[in-house]
């Protein structure tokens, strides 16, 4: 069978398994939420609402029905693409996700860009003199940034640059005096498209600290991955062969070693993107970033069953899609990959 048909077969199998996986995940979330202690009625009405009011709200939310009936409604709605209505705000879950997912994606993508540029630059910088001072510093950077507790790093960065120095805002996505741009929810793109400088600069200023912090924390992964893979590539036979043909070291590194060293980095990037789709909770909470992770945390605290279920299903679906896409990309770029 040709490689192309192998690839298509693989893609078909992964996509066919996706609904099964989503069903399993959503069912598990449905069950776990109901098994977990805590009552949505307490979260909505507080602990001292009269029993009659509690019963009425329970009935209104459909929580008085048997679990199987609730599950049946949930699955039926899900099959029709209906994620339900938030118990807390009575807003459609889809609308809430549409409002908060772009925030997480915008933060995640910019952070990833920073992480990749910074991490790869640091990882690459030590190649000139392995075990030299720069390489050692790069290694320390890689380990250090990876090991930093995100909430601590985020708070320190926030305190220094926002509170003490006052260079950048402490949190949020836009200045309080600027209204959000209309459009996709990606403020940088939307404001650029609208040609509104104030919105664009406001969004950019608010993005700098959370994205830099997250980027810094993620950059260590890229540094270590590139460092190790590049060193391995530079000691391989094909690189030796290239050197023996008299090619310059720059050409050897950039044309022969680097592309091969970047393939595992691509896989790591895919995994990082997948993990960022669900948001970076600690960064979002610290910087008051209204992303999907922040919303999920609130929904869990409020025992907002439909919202938690909806967010998990959507994020899981996106993660499946991204991982499949990355697998395919790696397979297309690396002819050695077999399925």
């Amino acid at each position: 069978m040709s490689r192309r048909s192998d690839l298509l077969r693989y893609l078909g199998a992964r996509l066919a398994l996706a609904p099964l996986m989503l069903w399993l995940i959503s069912s598990l979330v449905f069950l776990l939420l109901r098994v977990a202690p805590g009552d949505p009625i307490d979260a909505l009405l507080g602990p001292k609402a009269p029993a009659a009011a509690r019963a009425a709200l329970r009935q209104q939310l459909g929580l008085d029905q048997p679990l199987l009936v609730q599950y049946g409604h949930f699955l039926g709605d899900l099959l029709h693409g209906n994620l339900g209505v938030s118990q807390a705000s009575k807003e459609p879950v889809t609308t809430i996700i549409q409002g908060s997912l772009p925030a997480s994606l915008e933060l995640g993508l910019v952070a990833l860009l920073i992480a990749a540029v910074l991490g790869l630059a640091v990882g690459f910088s030590g190649i000139a003199r392995p075990e030299g001072k720069v390489d050692l510093a790069g290694r320390l950077f890689g380990i250090g940034t990876y090991a930093l507790p995100p909430f601590w790093a985020a708070m320190v960065v926030q305190l220094v640059f926002a509170v003490w120095l006052g260079w950048l805002p402490v949190g949020g996505r836009l200045p309080a005096t600027v209204l959000p741009p209309e459009g996709s929810g990606f403020y940088l793109l939307d404001s650029l498209r609208a040609g509104n400088d104030q919105q664009f600069l406001g969004a950019l200023r608010h993005l700098v600290l959370p994205a830099s912090t997250l980027g810094l924390l993620l950059s260590g992964i890229f540094t270590n991955a590139l460092r190790l893979n590049l060193r391995r590539a530079l000691s391989s036979d094909y690189v030796e062969a290239a050197r023996s043909r008299g090619l310059s070291e720059t050409r050897v590194v950039l044309r022969h070693a680097l592309p091969n060293a970047l393939l595992p980095v691509l896989t790591i990037t895919g995994i990082t993107v997948a993990s960022l789709i669900g948001g970076a909770l600690l960064i979002e909470v610290t910087y008051s970033w209204p992303g999907i992770a922040f919303r999920l945390q609130e929904a869990i605290a409020q025992r907002d069953y439909p919202l938690v279920q909806g967010i998990v299903v959507v994020v899981a679906a996106l993660v499946v899609l991204v991982t499949v896409a990355v697998d395919l990309l790696v397979a297309l770029l690396d002819p050695r990959v077999r399925f």
Binding site: P37, G38, D39, D42, L44, L45, G46, P47, K48, A49, P50, A51, A53, A56, S89, K90, E91, G99, L118, A121, F124, A128, R129, P130, L159, A162, V163, G166, W167, L168, P169, V170, G171, G172, R173, P175, A176, T177, L179, P180, L201, G202, L204, R205, V208, R232, S235, S236, D237, V239, E240, R243, T250, V252, L254, T286, S288, P290, A301, Q302
Partner: protein, 560 residues
Amino acid sequence: MPPATGQIVPAAPPRPLPAAALRQQARLLAGLLALASLTTACAPPHPAGTLIVASKARIDSLDPAQASRSGQMQVLSALGDPLYAIATDGTIEPRLASGPPLLSADGLRARIPLRKGVQFHDGTPFDAAAMVFSLKRFMAIGTLGYQFSDRVKAVRATGSHEIELELKAPFSPLSRLLSAIFLTPVSPTAYRTHTDKPLNDRFVGTGPYRLAFFNGQQQRLTPFQDYWGARPANGGIDLVTLSNSTALLGALRSGEVDVLLANGVEIDHQQALHRDAAAGRLREGSGPPLSIGFFSLLTDQPPLNNPLLRQALARSLDRATITQRVSLGMRPPLRQLIPPSLPGSDPEAWPTYDPAAARALYRQAGYCNGKVFGLPLTFRSDIPTDRLLALTWQAQVRRDLGDCLELQVSGMESTTAYDQLGKGALTLFFYDWIGDYPDPENFLTPLLGCEKVEANRCAKGNSALSGSFWSAPGLDAELLRSSRIDGPERERLLRAIQRRTATAVPYLPVWLMAEQAWSGRRISAPQFDGSGRLRLDQLRRLPGPPATLAASPGGPEARR
């Protein structure tokens, strides 16, 4: 040939890279830094006259029918008007009503005259039909609808500007109930298609501000030009949500926001702000203390079904030390269930701290003589102050009564704890309560009310939901009576109920809490109304020199 799996490849000798590649990377990094510094110089201008107010409260909905949290009520209080309002001195004054309710002889009908010449934000007139529409809508879909429909049987218009409430039973705190902001009227025209469902992202009422923009994290309020009352002292308010205490504190200190509401600000940060205010770096304002913090004692199961132990516990709590240590005195000690600003207050209902008397009671119950009473104490783990309080009491007890009592402290997430509380799973639990409207009835009934009493045990009702399961013969009838009578007679009865409860100790009041807010030096001091809401319309920028960022011992000062 590629190496076989597992084969170790010897490292190649290092070859130096040309400096050009490194220089290229350095240029890239420099470019990124330049971009970052460019953004710092581009802070948007602050529109003149408008103010930024920050809090932790995320607002999901501005429909009064959905309002149940303090953040929502705060915003609604600027966008809408209640029928009555409670002034800072506790008196009730008409707002959209033009006079006090006129009660029928049997106390079952109340006629309320309405103010004329009032307009909704959409330009439609406010009248009796609009008020009836709003109240019926609230009764039908209001999250707190029970607060109204438990007392009111029917609502009808009896004139173009008069409504009549048909009550289920005489209810003396009616004006106080009608001061609740969730009963604020909405425009029937604007809510025509939302009579049976909430309208979350809009609000069309009669208040001093109209809603110009809404999302969960940001709301813009602009002055309503046709407002019937006094115009706001500022050019508008931008309300923003910041999700954690450090960010809130930082935003005020860096001048990014003008006013900060204490809601969500951790106690140590509140203390820091309090010190800043005392040093003149900020301005501070407090509302009336309307929130109580207390322990609930599980009275229908061992060990606290023993009244001796409950009474001993009541004498083991050194409120003065605890409130000073935990809140630096910002939360005054409390020995009653009713906030002192409300009728029926009895500031010394619960016994004071008395370790000798406590020890005698523990001895009487069989403890102290080599036998230590181990008592599980649960606090809400997601509220840092609760943890501090629990640990401080534990330490105080160890110091003063270590041979008699050992508090076994553990935390539990709020929502889980509330669920467990009603199931009788928490022996001693600390939490707080604020009434939906400021009246003693809203403090005693939610804690002591009981639908089904078995001897001194509440099998079903508020007392069970509150975790104490305590009741007493005739108590429910007394509570009911207290909501039907008024004046000194009511106050005497409320005090008697409190004394009776204090003797049985199903609850242990600890401290009082008030809403607080801080503003920058160039902003007027925050003021609150009698319901504990920040008066956004009173905030204004004070005349003075242009904003500068001055260093100070407590951190950077407000820039404006």
